[in-house]
């Protein structure tokens, strides 16, 4: 078997594929952050908590009401998105126009509250969630065993990412959104309810995080703390891509998944640090990130 730096080629293929799958996850999470920052200039430190809520809600709805995976895929983001709208309406709105930093601090506080309360209610060991039967098993690709569920993750995540990008960048609704957040008075004049638009945008951004949470529920341990370490990685992804760049977040997400995957193969201990290293390097040479506009 041919080898690259002591790693069999087949293994490397597998790692690349895994990297892309994880990258799709990152893309989905960082997309939500990018939407919220790009359109609303809110630095949403509660994003990890919203991801966790998506997963928790999925499990809890199944346990309490028998809501199945497919329904949860729509219902959980809807519920969490609604929660997001409430947070925007009751909290974030009050600091609109202030320095971005305050939105960071406010959402950080919100995340601490959500996480802390859920720990007290559900503990930290994790909730049990069984994978839907149709995803059990997988297919042998020759170089690796590919679980069906991972294939589904990549399809679902990329579809949602592309759909979101399309709506925001290419449709009329998207142009209202972008215009509404850039010049709210003008749009208000056109009879568009800008505050509502802002609430819904924030709700949509966190719904994306919750969607990622639903995707995560069958394959990761679902606990109230699952979002806290994911959060800063995803933030790094968004910063590397360029804060607010929708397409940048998606591409960077996948790219970082691959880089992380390769690090996991060649020097595993650094795999959590590598993204930060990339971030420092990128910002040294491109202060606004790979796809960001010069500030």
């Amino acid at each position: 078997m041919s080898m690259i730096f002591g790693v069999p080629l087949a293994v490397l293929f597998g790692q690349l594929l895994i990297g892309i799958i994880n990258g799709a996850f990152y893309a989905l999470l960082s997309l939500g952050l990018a939407v919220i920052f790009g359109l609303l200039k809110i630095i949403n430190f509660a994003h990890g908590a919203m991801y966790m809520l998506g997963a928790m809600v999925t499990v809890l709805m199944f346990d309490a009401l028998g809501v199945n995976y497919w329904v949860a895929l729509f219902l959980a983001p809807l519920l969490v998105g609604t929660f997001g709208v409430l947070i925007e309406y009751f909290l974030l709105r009050r600091i609109a126009g202030q320095d971005h930093i305050y939105s960071l601090l406010l959402t950080f506080g919100v995340a601490l509250i959500i996480q802390g309360v859920l720990i007290n209610w559900f503990g930290v060991s994790g909730l049990r969630y069984t994978m839907p039967d149709m995803f059990k098993g997988g297919v042998n690709l020759g170089f690796m065993f590919m679980p069906y569920y991972r294939a589904w993750v990549i399809v679902a995540a990329l579809l949602v990412c592309f759909g979101t990008w399309f709506v925001i960048e290419k449709t009329k609704l998207g142009s209202y959104l972008r215009a509404g957040t850039e010049d709210s008075e003008l749009m208000q004049g056109f009879g568009i309810n800008v505050p509502l638009l802002i609430s819904l945008t924030y709700g949509f951004g966190v719904a994306l995080a919750a969607f990622a949470g639903v995707l995560a529920a069958p394959i990761y341990s679902v606990t109230p703390v699952m979002g806290s370490s994911t959060l800063i990685v995803v933030f790094a992804v968004v910063v590397i891509g360029g804060m607010g760049s929708i397409g940048g977040a998606i591409i960077t997400g996948i790219l970082m998944g691959v880089i992380e995957g390769l690090t996991k193969t060649f020097y595993p201990p650094a795999s959590s640090a590598v993204i930060f290293l990339v971030m420092v390097l990128v910002l040294m040479f491109r202060p606004s990130g790979l796809f960001g506009k010069e500030a």
Binding site: P8, A10, V11, G14, Q15, I18, G19, I21, N22, F25, G116, I119, N120, G123, V124, S125, G126, L127, R128, T130, M131, G137, G138, M144, F145, P147, Y149, R150, I219, Y220, S221, T223, V225, M226, S229, T230, G261, K264, T265, P268, P269, A270, S271, S272, A273
Partner: protein, 403 residues
């Protein structure tokens, strides 16, 4: 403590020494401080339910020992050694706490034991895994009760090798705890004629293990050893099951799994995993009876740490009753002299280094067909005798051991 107070207490202490009046219960109360992670990653294995276990032990004494009241104070250690130090210092210096129980994060346990040594009080550590607690960090003022990394590696690894798992691939959490587990496993595996053919050190914490599982699969090793803990272990096991590790003929050996972890995974995902535990709720009539009581209080089955907290508190109070003293050295000596025979341990004994050695158990997670309810999770395969399980004193670096 102020200068005055300090002078005063030392004067009193020396007066007591002079009178040889060690046999007394200070302040006419036995005060126990319960310190554990109440809000972070280690919450479920000890946490608030551990306090319930402690209170059950006190209730068994009717709240009194030799007619003196038993009191409990408790605090969240925040997994922070300096918050814990502030708390414990106040407990021992201002609130006359005689014994500190609980303690999970190794940094907390070690920091607290130093303070207890300074102030000559007693600590009984039930939650920590680090074997360094009774090795290089041993003090004459603490006891490490339930388990440590040495028997975890020893028990699981030797059993798995003996059953034919000759080649191992290690997934190791990249911090001291993981490293020491890995090296202990290596020793045991090699001593039994096996071999470690590869290892990967993953960051702590890691959510996605697919990359590492893939590498472990590609290695072709008989056994994938998980030298990690908590969410890392459960995530690794979930991913292993998803990627069909067991179907492809590899075995998973988890070195540290708590009942709460296995419960979160469920029998479906965790079936067949071998692990070492210090205690299991469904071993015999005694353990079941106590666990039923515990479940009535808390709604869950106890982990080995919960049981250890109960047992150690009981032993402590027995020793206080027997000596009529709550002086740390007097009580510790009495505890060392008394073999432990209760629902937690049979013929357990506390060594000079503070290590409580007792039989450990090799368990296997039941299949869904075998498991009768959500907590019916382990089959006990084998008892690992106490002398085999723990690090022998001859290898000890503890200052209390003459080597």
């Amino acid at each position: 403590m102020t200068m005055m107070k300090k002078l005063l207490t030392s004067a009193i202490a020396s007066a007591m020494m002079a009178g040889g009046a060690q046999a007394a219960i200070s302040n006419d109360t036995v005060k126990i401080g319960y310190l554990a992670d109440m809000s972070g990653t280690y919450r479920d294995l000890a946490g608030p339910n551990g306090q319930k276990a402690l209170e059950m032990a006190i209730a068994d004494f009717g709240g009194n020992v030799n007619g003196k009241k038993i009191e409990v104070v408790s605090a969240d250690d925040r997994n922070s050694p300096d918050t814990s130090s502030s708390t414990v210092r106040r407990w021992v210096e201002n609130e006359n706490v005689d014994m500190v129980a609980g303690m999970v994060a190794s940094s907390v346990s070690i920091a607290v034991s130093k303070i207890l040594e300074e102030n000559d009080r007693l600590g009984i550590i039930s939650g920590s895994a680090a074997s360094s607690i009774t090795n290089e960090h041993c003090t004459p003022n603490h006891i490490h009760y339930v388990y440590d990394t040495y028997p975890l590696a020893n028990g699981t690894a030797s059993a798995v090798v003996k059953e034919g798992g000759k080649t191992w691939y290690m997934l190791t959490a990249d911090y001291a705890f993981g490293h020491s587990l890995e090296s202990d496993v290596k020793n045991v595996v090699e001593a039994n004629g096996g071999e470690i053919i590869g290892a990967v050190r993953h960051p702590f914490p890691t959510q996605d293990f697919s990359s590492f599982i893939l590498q472990a699969q590609a290695s072709g090793a008989d056994v994938i050893g998980l030298a990690n803990a908590g969410a890392d272990t459960t995530n690794a096991i979930t991913t292993a099951s998803e990627f069909g590790v067991t179907q492809s003929g590899q075995t998973l050996a988890a070195l540290l799994l708590f009942l709460t972890d296995v419960h979160a995974l469920g029998a479906q995902t965790a079936q067949g995993i071998q692990l070492t535990t210090g205690w299991y709720w469904d071993m015999n009539e005694e353990t079941r009876e106590w666990s039923d009581r515990f479940m009535k209080e808390t709604g869950v089955r106890p982990t080995m740490v919960h049981a250890g907290i109960y047992s150690s508190a009981t032993q402590y109070l027995n020793a206080v009753a027997a000596t009529g003293s709550d002086d740390a050295q007097t009580v510790r000596k009495q505890m060392m002299d008394t073999p432990i025979n209760d629902m937690f341990a049979k013929n357990g004994k506390i060594r000079v280094d503070g290590r409580m050695v007792h039989d450990m158990y090799l368990a296997e997670v039941k299949t869904p067909a075998e498991s009768k309810n959500e907590w019916d999770l382990y089959k006990i395969l084998r008892t690992i005798p106490a002398d085999e399980a723990y690090r022998p004193l001859s290898e000890s670096k503890c200052k209390l051991v003459n080597n």
